[in-house]
């Protein structure tokens, strides 16, 4: 009886279906149809049936756009994520210029996605908002070891792409970064002002001291003048 009701009901009521519940999604964001899978080779869309814009899969590195992503890469190879990563799947080497100076970017940044467990700890510990979660999940490859090791250039994604897949989160993160930057600048400004004030005070104090000194000298001179006069 219940089975029959469910069977008949499944034709009219989406809640009786075992498929995904899209009732909360705006109409225009509904996936057109699930039957197109697989899509064209290499193409990956964020609206493939099961991916919502909250899901997370594997990490990616952010850059702020530009022709050469390495110019605007946010990662400074501080290696905090490498240390904190629970399954130890991140491998970082710092980059050095020809003089052997550390140039605050990674020379190597590898993530072994066969080990990664998508826990998002690296995203949380990163102080530079340089690493975030991607929702790309079609990673199948015929090469078991090399193919599942994502290199730095595979991981680099632009901030625009991040906005596309996780709009709310990305906006919040940008806001946070802007706030931090503003706070930093305000701090800098305050520090500069304080320094200026300090310098002014110092100058004032110096001037006063000088004046005092001068007065003293004058007094002395006067004294000496008096002495001389006497």
């Amino acid at each position: 009886m219940v089975t029959l009701r469910n069977f008949v009901g499944s034709y009219f009521d989406s809640n009786r279906l075992t498929t995904n519940d899209y009732s909360w999604k705006p109409k225009d964001q509904l996936p057109q149809s699930a039957g197109e899978y697989p899509k064209e080779e290499g193409e990956q869309l964020s609206d493939t049936t099961t991916v919502t814009n909250y899901s997370r899969n594997f990490p990616m590195l952010l850059h702020d756009g530009g022709d050469d992503p390495m110019d605007t890469i946010r990662c400074v190879a501080c290696q905090i994520c490498e240390r904190e990563c629970p399954p130890q799947c991140i491998y970082i080497e710092k980059a050095y210029d020809e003089n052997g100076k550390y140039i605050k970017s990674p020379a190597k940044f590898d993530i072994d996605v066969s080990v990664c467990m998508s826990c998002q700890i690296c995203v949380e510990v990163c102080p530079f908002d340089a690493i975030v979660m991607n929702s790309q999940f079609e990673l199948s490859t015929p090469d078991r070891f090399g193919g599942l090791l994502l290199r730095r250039d595979d991981l680099l994604k632009s901030n625009d792409y991040y906005h596309q897949i996780h709009p709310e989160e990305a906006a919040a993160r940008d806001q946070k970064m802007a706030d931090e930057k503003a706070a930093k600048e305000a701090k800098k400004k305050a520090a500069a002002e304080a320094a200026k004030k300090k310098a002014e005070e110092k100058a004032k104090a110096e001037a006063e001291a000088k004046a005092l000194e001068e007065a003293g000298e004058k007094g002395k001179e006067e004294d000496s003048g008096k002495e001389e006069a006497s």
């Binding site: 519940d21 909250y54 629970p86 467990m117 700890i121």
Partner: protein, 356 residues
């Protein structure tokens, strides 16, 4: 018998001695999924073990997270903000629904009702997992709790969707009860099977719905009142016989109570912060703590020893599934071999937690 495929009850083996069809001896064999979670956790920072707790009992990652966070919060005294406490309760109760509903599905699957009831159960589970995905980013390995709060606030409109799911759930339960609870086959195969006496249940440290089915109304939500459970009105259902049918019914009734808690929590949830003042580097002073919560499977406890470094000196999980298996032999002796499967199903084990 076994080891089975991990998607049933897990890779678990029973050495069964039979006399005809009657079980005369039974020895459970564990360890196929052992990964020494405790040793791993002793070698990493406190926060880094959080995602590993998801993988203990992979049906209930939220409650696992909570038990660990609760223990760690005792180490450094962090106040959890109001909204985070409410969200924790909501997540834990949703998890309980997920666990019980899929357990009931698996249980009738073990009885031979292949497919249909399980699929109905999974249909409802899917709706809750969708909620989890929107809040935490992952359906099952949520990794959502943090020491002192939660990782992030729920997205806009999430609470409304949660209310919708909660309101719809009782209707499904009615239907499900109509389908299963008075079914003649289920009655004859579960009533009087695998009886567990009250004394043995207490002595063997059985916890959760299994203990309550044996007639002991011991629920840590009532006893410990951890989190903010003292603010909610709910009842603790318990059985009388301690047989498989009671264990099954206690879970059905518990789902109703969970919905009551959910309704209250979703109505009262305040606005505000979701993260307390947690230290940036989690480095507790030397201490020993034991935090426990009422997980859907029983008492889930974490025993932590801190020695002043960022890594725990000792990290121990009290797995309810493993300890509930203590009495498997006692319940199965003298029963038929086909009933041993049903009894195992009614214990509700997840091998990720048994073997750790």
């Amino acid at each position: 018998m076994g080891p089975h495929h991990p998607s049933t009850h897990g890779v678990f083996r029973m050495d069964v001695k039979l006399d005809g069809e009657t079980v005369v001896d039974l020895k459970p064999v564990f360890g196929y999924l052992h990964r020494n979670h405790e040793k791993l956790a002793e070698d990493m920072s406190y926060l880094a073990s959080m995602p590993f707790t998801d993988r203990l009992d992979y049906f209930n990652s939220m409650t696992n997270n909570w038990a660990y966070a609760l223990a760690a919060e005792q180490l450094v005294e962090i106040e959890v903000p109001e909204r985070a406490e409410y969200l924790r309760v909501i997540m834990a109760e949703l998890t309980r629904l997920v666990n019980h509903v899929s357990l009931v599905g698996f249980f009738v699957n073990d009885l031979g009702a292949l497919g249909t009831p399980l699929l109905y159960a999974f249909r409802e589970r899917e709706k809750i997992l969708d909620l989890f995905e929107q809040a935490s980013g992952a359906r099952m390995m949520c990794n959502y709790f943090r020491f002192g709060g939660l990782r992030c606030d729920v997205p806009e409109g999430w609470l409304d969707r949660a209310r919708e799911v909660t309101d719809r759930f009782p209707k499904f339960l009615d239907e499900y009860e109509q389908l299963l609870c008075e079914n003649e086959i289920i009655l004859s195969r579960t009533q009087g099977i695998g009886k567990l006496s009250r004394e043995l249940a207490i002595s063997a440290g059985i916890t959760g719905p299994m203990l309550r089915a044996s007639g002991v109304a011991y629920d840590l939500r009532k006893v410990d009142k951890y989190g903010i459970y003292d603010r909610f009105k709910f009842r603790v259902p318990y059985g009388e016989e301690g047989d498989c049918y009671d264990r099954f019914m206690v879970r059905m009734l518990e789902m109703r109570e969970s919905i009551q808690i959910l309704k209250q929590a979703l109505a009262d949830i305040p606005e505000g912060d979701i993260m307390g003042k947690a230290p940036r580097v989690f480095k507790p002073k030397p201490a020993e703590v034991y935090g426990r919560i009422e997980g859907p499977k029983g008492e889930l406890g974490f025993y932590l020893i801190a020695d002043g470094t960022p890594k725990p000196y000792r990290y121990r999980v009290r797995p309810p599934s493993l300890i509930n298996l203590t009495v498997l032999r006692d319940m199965c002796l003298g029963q038929k071999i086909a009933d041993a499967v049903v009894i195992l199903g009614s214990i509700d084990i997840v091998l990720g937690e048994v073997d750790r």
